[in-house]
Symmetry: C2
Subunit: 218 residues, 2 copies
DNA sequence: AATAATTTTTAGATTTATCTAAAAATTATT
DNA sequence: AATAATTTTTAGATAAATCTAAAAATTATT
């Protein structure tokens, strides 16, 4: 049987390895898990024995097929629960993470397949992240960071990079939600801040904000 | 912070103490928790240190006010989740227990109050057990065991004592559900089996079955 | 009331996940 | 290429929850 801790390590390794990183380092995992490198080494050995990761001393780890399946299933559960919380229980998108972190570990195939159906098979969570299907397939959409959009582009907001409560509340305050249409009007060379137009209202956005908002050119 | 194990012990002590038993014995807890008496002693000391129970060596334990509140909150969560599973996710009443055992430990006040509202403030779970309200108040209905009903009584099924899958499936098979109306026709003195009539159909029920079905005289 | 049976506790060991401190290996810098 | 800095691992310790086996206390029986 897989433990809660093992699941959390596997999830952390999955997230760290997501963007083409082949061998996830011990220190990176330690940072992500808010624990010590020595603890990570111990756990990584255990995960390796259980064939969830491939591990060679001093070389970091990679998830095995088995490990990847577990990770994707946790992600699927996390995101489905987030949809449930927002759509059915009136949570706002900045409140769901903590609860979903707990709910993602509930073990019941029927629960998840029924929840999926109840939510009418959503494809994305409240932050715009894709929900893996029952088979673990993830459909990715071609989104870019707002900071990468060009002057004059008409965009539609489709996701966030940072899903911290602080960032999400900033977006709420400025009436930016998923689905919001905006136009990139101007980029300030000095600090890379950009001016965007939402409907008729202009808004200046720092580069840091633009670096955490995904858009699709429409 | 309270651990999962502590919560489960508190819940067990609550259930064992429910029917007027003041001091719950170590062995009773061990049986309920499927563990050894020595483990129980250890845990009971810990629960006592944390003021969840009153404990005197060799005298068993009683929940403190604090312990009782925790127990009732777990019961509330368990039963609300059971309603959710049956009403929204199409689980049958014999499938919900295991999943609810996991869900009952999720920590989020907002989650439970919103779930309660989403389910339209149910008062009873799918097995007829009352759901404590936000304040921990439990409204009990005057139900009796079918085995205690008298010949000629018109009854309505309102709950089950045993909520094992086997028993619930037996009831399903014989078209007995909560809300089902039945009449007690005859009691066989030899084995205390009783003949009941549901609509026009007669059915003979063993004393063991009658001992696990709650009814209200109508 | 003495003895037997049962229940409960204690003592000491085990497993899981963690830690600190030191050693070993790798990577970066001069 | 030697040394310094960093990363990773090892060794040994700790805390939580459990176990077995033996001792102590309680309860039941003769």
């Amino acid at each position: 049987m897989i433990t809660l801790t093992e699941e959390n390590y596997i999830k952390a390794i999955y997230h760290l390895g997501k963007y083409g990183v082949n061998n996830v380092s011990t220190n990176a995992i330690a940072k992500e898990m808010e624990t010590k490198a020595s603890s990570v080494t111990d756990m990584v050995k255990k995960l390796s024995e259980k064939s969830y990761v491939d591990y060679k001393k001093y070389q970091g780890v990679t998830l095995t097929q088995k490990g990847k399946e577990i990770a994707i299933n946790i992600v699927r559960k996390h995101r489905l629960w987030e949809v449930f919380l927002v759509e059915k229980l009136n949570f706002s998108w900045d409140e769901v993470h903590e609860v979903a972190e707990q709910l993602e570990h509930i073990k019941s195939k029927k629960l998840i397949s029924q929840l999926d159906a109840f939510l009418e098979f959503p494809t994305h969570d409240p932050h715009g992240d894709p929900i893996p299907d029952k088979m673990g397939h993830i459909k990715k959409i071609d989104k870019i960071l707002l900071s990468e959009a060009e002057i004059g582009n008409d965009c539609i907001c489709v996701g966030v990079q940072d899903s911290s409560s602080e960032f999400l509340k900033y977006l709420d305050k400025n009436n930016i939600a998923l689905g919001t249409e905006l136009k990139v009007c101007h980029r300030e060379a000095f600090d890379n801040s950009i001016t965007i137009k939402i409907k008729t209202k202009e808004l200046i956005i720092s580069n840091m904000i633009a670096n955490n908002l995904f858009v699709k050119i429409s």
